[in-house]
């Protein structure tokens, strides 16, 4: 169980996330939607420890982790994929994933073993590459991948971490239409597992509608709506502030 | 021994921070060998071969170059180096290979002091000689002296020797500044504060070599308190700054216009024909070392074995541009004259001209013997 209480962060005068209290249960996928700049990514950053909260608390399984840094939270089971692709550019695709597997196995401080002797880690990395359809690109440098493949690798790294809480920040942005299902299937499988807590930031409403068990809406840093997908999407905040639809003309845009 | 040759290695700062000094020594050495052998470069029927080695001012390099010179190049004896640090590192090598090292122009006292071994001779003056001669020049009743020196061994040893030699004048303050000092205002203030209320003649004695320009303290208008500056001699480019201090007194190791003897006349003439300029400080040193070597070899009739040479050179006197020098038996330091000077400004020269006040003979300087024996 992941829980935030009055989580707040202020940048100078600007309150990017304002007293957001919310709990996320294992086995559910919660979509977080809101206009650009609503504070979704910042909310993620606060949870995973990339930035320090001005006020409020984050608890994981009842333990207060607010004072811990990003590495400790990652070890505690918070996994994060980034909105703007964030890889190890001059390492190979396989090594990008293997490093995540190695982090998961806690083997990083071993100074004396030869890395390739940990066959289990290598094998596991290849499995993950298979699941994100990058198996044939394992030996390329991450930097030379086209944008869409980089997004897939970003997701692959998260998968390799096998966290308890998965945080996806627009995983399919810039991914070509035929590749999107690969990622969506992955997320579906995670859901099917029933033990993982999944948070998803996504602007494509059809994806949100299809995958989520619950939607929360952030607007100007505040939590303004929370509930089951159909109700929330139909609510006036979402319709106007987010989708930009006037009640009269009902045309849907996002793919 | 390689046939009819006497191989001399000259290890010096051909490059590096002391490049300009090292080159003077080399010029002087070659001129001296030429002069001493009457242009034949032969002594005792053997040809003199000079092998140049560049220590770049690095002690470790100097050390290995000297070893290579003795072992690989089969040098019979070595001369050099420019820097005292390099010299100190080289001393044990001479002992290991049991060959002579004639130190020139490195000045540190410890070379002929506690780091000395019997293979070491030195034609160059040591710090004590420098300091003592300056003390002799300045040491008058009623004079108050404060010293300004670089804060490391060279400066501190110099001041110590100076203090030991001063008998009648009063020393009120010792100012040590880091070698890297660029702004001397703070030090000057402290010196002024210490001196300004003293009676009589007030002198700041400066011991400084290398980067930084301590004479800038004069810009703080020391005259208003009647404070004078004194320092030893230096190479000609550095003595350009002396132009601002007409009447300044001190004692120097060498200035081409001062010694009157045939050797010096020959060197000055030769230098003018070859370079259209007068010889400098270290040219004289290099020349002296050549004179020492050739004099000794003449006596041994070309036998360059260390044991023979040591026996010959201990107590040996030889002629140099600075007059007669003598290797003292105890520590192999060459005893030599120093010159008490007073600066005169002459527009014909780019530097302040040191005029001889009087020659300070070796006998007037009680240069301590510092090697443990």
């Amino acid at each position: 169980m992941l829980e935030t209480t009055d989580l707040t962060v202020r940048f100078g005068g600007h309150v990017a996330v304002n007293a957001v209290s919310c709990a996320f249960a294992p086995g559910t996928l919660t979509a977080i939607v809101g206009p650009n700049g609503a504070g979704k990514t910042t909310y993620f950053n606060l949870i995973s420890g990339q930035i320090k909260a001005t006020a409020g608390r984050v608890k994981l399984n009842g333990v207060d982790i607010s004072q811990q840094g990003a590495p400790a939270r990652a070890q505690a089971g918070l996994g994060r994929a980034f909105q703007l692709t964030n890889l190890f550019p001059n390492l190979t695709v396989r090594e990008n994933v293997r490093l995540a597997v190695q982090a998961r196995a806690g083997a990083g401080l071993n100074l004396w073993k030869i890395w390739s002797d940990r066959k289990d880690l290598v094998v596991r990395a290849d499995e993950v590459l298979e699941t994100v359809a990058l198996a044939d690109k394992g030996d390329q440098l991450a930097a030379s991948l086209p944008h869409g493949d980089q997004r897939k690798l970003e997701v692959g790294i998260l998968m390799a971490l096998e966290p308890q809480v998965f945080m996806f920040d627009e995983p399919t942005a810039g991914m070509s239409v035929d590749e999107v299902p690969v990622i969506l299937n992955l997320i579906r499988q995670l859901k099917a597992d029933k033990t993982k807590t999944i948070l998803l930031v996504e602007h494509k409403m059809d994806v949100v509608r299809e995958l989520s068990d619950r939607i929360i809406v952030l607007h100007n840093g505040e939590l303004v709506a929370d509930g089951d997908p159909a109700t929330v999407i139909a609510s006036p905040v979402v319709q106007q502030a987010y989708l930009g639809i006037n009640p009269e003309e009902k045309e849907e845009v996002a793919a | 021994q390689s046939g009819g040759e006497i191989r001399i290695a000259h290890v010096y700062s051909k490059t590096g921070p002391l490049e300009a000094y090292g080159k003077q020594t080399q010029v002087g050495l070659m001129m001296g060998l030429n002069y001493a052998t009457g242009g034949t470069m032969m002594v005792g029927g053997k040809k003199i071969v000079v092998i140049e080695k560049d220590d770049q001012g690095k002690p470790d390099l100097g050390k290995s170059l000297l070893a290579a010179a003795y072992a690989d190049d089969k040098a019979d004896l070595a001369i050099g180096p420019t820097s005292s640090g390099v010299a100190l590192a080289m001393l044990p090598v001479a002992e290991e290979y049991q060959k002579i090292l004639l130190v020139e122009p490195a000045v540190a006292d410890s070379i002929t002091g506690d780091k000395w071994n019997k293979y070491i001779f030195r034609t160059g003056r040591n710090s004590s000689q420098d300091a003592i001669s300056n003390a002799v020049a300045l040491d008058k009743a009623g004079t108050t002296i404060a010293t300004l020196a670089q804060d490391y061994a060279f400066g501190r040893d110099g001041v110590k020797a100076f203090k030991d030699a001063v008998k009648t004048a009063k020393i009120v303050h010792e100012e040590y500044l880091p070698t890297s000092t660029t702004d001397f205002t703070a030090g000057a203030q402290r010196l002024i504060d210490k001196l300004k209320d003293q009676p009589g003649r007030k002198v700041i004695f400066i011991i400084w070599a290398g980067a930084g320009n301590p004479f800038k303290i004069a810009d703080l208008d020391l005259k208003r308190y009647g404070i004078e500056i004194a320092t030893g001699g230096n190479i000609l480019p550095a003595m350009a700054a002396y132009k601002n201090f007409p009447g300044m007194e001190g004692a120097t190791y060498y200035y081409f216009g001062i010694p009157k003897n045939p050797v010096n006349e020959a060197m000055v003439a030769q230098h003018y024909t070859q370079f259209k300029s007068p010889p400098d400080f270290f040219t004289a040193g290099g020349f002296s070392s050549a004179m020492a070597v050739v004099t000794a070899l003449k006596k041994t009739n070309g036998d360059a074995k260390a044991a023979t040479l040591i026996k010959t050179m201990e107590g040996m006197s030889f002629e140099t541009p600075k007059g007669t020098m003598t290797f003292r038996k105890e520590d192999h330091q060459a005893m030599q004259s120093m010159y008490h000077f007073k600066i005169k400004v002459d527009p014909a020269f780019a530097w302040g001209v040191p005029e001889l006040v009087r020659e300070i003979k070796p006998s007037e300087m009680n240069v301590p013997i510092r090697n443990k024996k």
């Binding site: - | 890297s180 205002t185 703070a186 203030q189 004479f215 350009a240 700054a241």
Partner: protein, 328 residues
């Protein structure tokens, strides 16, 4: 414009604060005045020699370890120029003396700037954006430059006497202020004003900062970033040349190694300043100048480490320097 709006005054207050804090420690007001004025003027000279590097490092993000060679070059050029102007430098009139400095400065700047052009083309251009290689290649350039100076001017130290009228001090009560330092303050102030104006009143500063982050994008916006970079580098080198003249005249002699000798000092100054802030560099330089004199007077041993201690203290307070310009 933006310079004075929401200005951050704290770093500027450091300079007077340091001076005031030193007053009781030094004791005598006249000594304090001498030290303070000398320190501030020294700071100005240091600012002049560091100003070019602020441009090159702060704007272009080029770690130019060879900056010193331009300083040395400027100084050597000055020996040649002033050497040929004996009549002016030894004249009785202060104005004639000052007039001699002008061509020396201009020629030094021109020569250093010209060398900067060559340097940019052959040394810097292949390594934009690669700090480590910049360090190496510019050190290489510095070594070559220093050796060339030895080839041209010889390895010896060359005297660079001050013109007659600038020697000695002005007396304010019991405190002595060297005349030359007053000249330095004026030159430094002019350099500062010129830099602030160019960087804040024109687009040049913005463009270069943008170019460092994303060269391709600046070109895609239609700017000839390359020419701009060359221009800045040449300006930085010319400033170093000017700095060399000032520094050489201060020392009254020049040696080929003088550039290398000031390298660490100027890096400390621009780090304190925040890597690229002109005002920051000025404050850094003034602090360094003052600190050297106060510690030199109070505890000379510590003076050796005063710059480093100052830098560390400042970085503890503001880890990016007093005026962080960029977040590289």
């Amino acid at each position: 414009m933006s310079l004075f709006k929401d200005m951050d005054w704290k770093p500027m207050a450091l300079v007077p604060l340091l001076a005031l804090a030193a007053l009781p420690a030094v004791g005598s007001p006249s000594t304090w005045l001498t030290l303070t004025v000398a320190g501030l003027a020294m700071g100005m000279i240091v600012f002049i020699i560091a100003s070019g590097l602020t441009l090159v490092f702060g704007l272009m993000d080029v770690l130019n370890f060879g900056h010193g060679v331009f300083i040395a070059l400027g100084a050597f050029v000055a020996t040649t120029v002033l050497g040929s102007m004996n009549a002016f430098t030894t004249a009785d009139s202060l104005w004639t003396n000052l007039l001699a400095l002008l061509p020396a400065m201009l020629v030094a700047m021109a020569v250093a700037g010209a060398l900067g052009l060559v340097f940019e083309r052959f040394i810097i251009r292949p390594v934009y954006g690669m700090h480590l290689k910049q360090i190496l290649i510019t050190m290489g350039g510095m070594i070559i430059g220093e050796e060339m100076i030895k080839v041209i001017w010889g390895p010896e130290q060359i005297p660079l006497p001050l013109p007659e009228g600038l020697r000695g001090s002005l007396l304010i009560g019991d405190a002595a202020v060297e005349k030359y330092r007053i000249v330095a303050v004026l030159v430094g102030a002019a350099v500062f004003a010129a830099m602030v104006w160019t960087l804040n009143r024109t687009k040049v500063g913005l463009l270069i900062r943008a170019g460092v982050q994303d060269r391709e994008m600046v070109e895609s916006l239609g700017y000839r970033i390359r020419r701009l970079f060359v221009g800045v580098f040449v300006a930085g080198s010319a400033l170093a040349g000017l700095g060399g003249v000032m520094w050489g005249l201060y020392q009254q002699n020049v040696v080929p190694q003088m550039g290398a000798q000031v390298n660490v000092l100027i890096f400390i100054v621009i780090i304190i300043g925040g890597l690229g802030s002109t005002l920051g560099a000025l404050i850094g330089a003034l602090l360094v100048g003052l600190m050297a004199n106060y510690t030199g007077f109070l505890v000379p041993k510590v003076a050796l480490f005063s710059n480093i201690a100052l830098m560390v203290t400042i970085l503890l307070w503001r880890p990016q320097g007093v005026y962080p310009v960029t977040s590289r």
